[in-house]
Amino acid sequence: MTGLLMQMLEGTVTSLQIFFLTLIFSLPLGFVVAKGRMTGIRIIRWITDLYIQIMRGTPLILQLIFVYFAPYYLFGASYDRFTACIIAFVINYSAYFAEIYRSGLQSIDKGQYEAAKVLGFTRSYTFFHIILPQVIKKILPALGNEVITLVKDTALAQTIGVSELFRVAQTASSRVFSTVPIFIAGVFYFVMNYIVSRLFTAGEKKLGYYR
């Protein structure tokens, strides 16, 4: 029994690694993608748009398989599954975050930029002190939904053989002929998402001081 719990704990750690690494890379990267999507340079806009369409238009499970196996079929090179898993998650989530950022940025009235310009704020000051705080408030609910989805999506990493929590639970449950391990995994996902949604609610509340 302790052996099973230890295994599940290890799986949990892997799931959490996928979760946090994906966020660390894709939250900022999504911003770069959003900028590309909104640039005046048509070719860049077209490419980023195509990338976003592909990421949103195909299953993540397929993207995982592609990212892991494509280098092998193309160059005969194989690499670490965990790395492949992080890359697939990051490029997928960057696309989703980019669309959230874009809608947030576009919802800011252009009068905000104009007032800032006339008052003499630099472009970077305007962005970080005037625009970004308002964008964060606007996108927090959508971001929360996406992060909750990410928690559940980490289970897909097993497709390419990463031993995350759900794979460990499934293997264990067929070994001990019991669904208990899977049920334990379910509790983990629930708790994790409970924390995530509490954090986002707290964030929304904190930014609720203005309209």
Binding site: D109, E114, A115, V118, G120
Partner: protein, 253 residues
């Protein structure tokens, strides 16, 4: 008397359509210029060029002796960025839609640029902000957020925000068009007081009586040109052009 703004032969097109055609005027220090004209006649575009929110196609503009752009071979050639910045700091603009920063308190709306742009320290910036809020009659609103204020109060905050940077010229683009008549009166009173203090101002407005009363010079714009200009009593009381007469008459009940 010093010329604060000297604009010569300004022209500007949007996608091939000329919306400002060869406009010139001067604004003398301590005076008030009122600009009237139908919607779409180019009033906002002109103010936006003067405040560098839009670029001129051709013409020459000097502000307090500094050149923002000058006409060279039929094109407006802009000065260097630091010169443009210096000119920008001489100018304040009050928008029709206030454009206050919703996430900042009233006080911080007024101190933010003082601190970030003029590098004033916190105490000095707040003292300045409080004295301006007092002047606007809303010092009790310092800790509130823009959404908690009436339109008239918001516009007073935005005037205070502009004044906090000690501009040489204050420009208004239809400052009361988003307000109902009672709130309009509040704002007109504030602008009138500024005029009495000899603040140099250019005001785009549809308030004809107000414009006539406060301005030293008036311009009627129509279709991208100055159709008529002159002393307010002449322009409002005895317009020479048929279209000026019609426009002004359309505001009488």
């Amino acid at each position: 008397m010093k010329e604060m703004i000297r604009l010569e032969n300004l022209s500007k097109s949007f996608s091939g359509i000329e919306v400002i055609k060869n406009i010139s005027f001067t604004l003398t220090e301590g005076e008030v210029l009122s600009i009237i004209g139908p919607s779409g006649s180019g009033k906002s575009t002109m103010l936006r060029i003067i405040t560098q929110l839009e670029r001129a196609d051709n013409g020459t503009l000097t502000v307090d002796g500094l050149t923002m752009f000058r006409s060279v071979d039929g094109k407006a050639v802009y000065s260097k960025p630091d010169e443009l910045r210096a000119i920008g700091l001489k100018m304040g603009l009050v928008f029709q839609s206030f454009n206050l920063f919703p996430h900042l308190s009233v006080l911080r709306n007024i101190t933010e640029a003082q601190r970030a742009v003029l590098k004033r320290d916190k105490a000095e910036a707040e003292e300045k902000a409080m004295s301006l809020l007092k002047k606007m009659g809303i010092e009790d609103k310092a800790g509130q957020y823009p959404f908690q204020l009436s339109g008239g109060q918001q516009q007073r905050v935005s005037i205070a925000r502009a004044l906090a940077l000690d501009p040489e010229v204050l420009l208004f683009d239809e400052p009361t068009s988003a307000l109902d008549p009672e709130l309009t009166r509040e704002i007109l009173k504030v602008i009138r007081e500024l005029a009495e203090e000899k603040m140099t101002m250019a005001v785009v407005t549809h308030e004809m009586h107000f414009a006539r009363a406060i301005s030293d010079y008036a311009i009627f714009m129509d279709n991208g040109v100055i159709a008529e200009e002159g002393a307010p009593d002449e322009l409002f009381g005895n317009p020479k052009e048929e279209r000026t007469r019609k426009f002004i008459a359309s505001f009488e009940e």
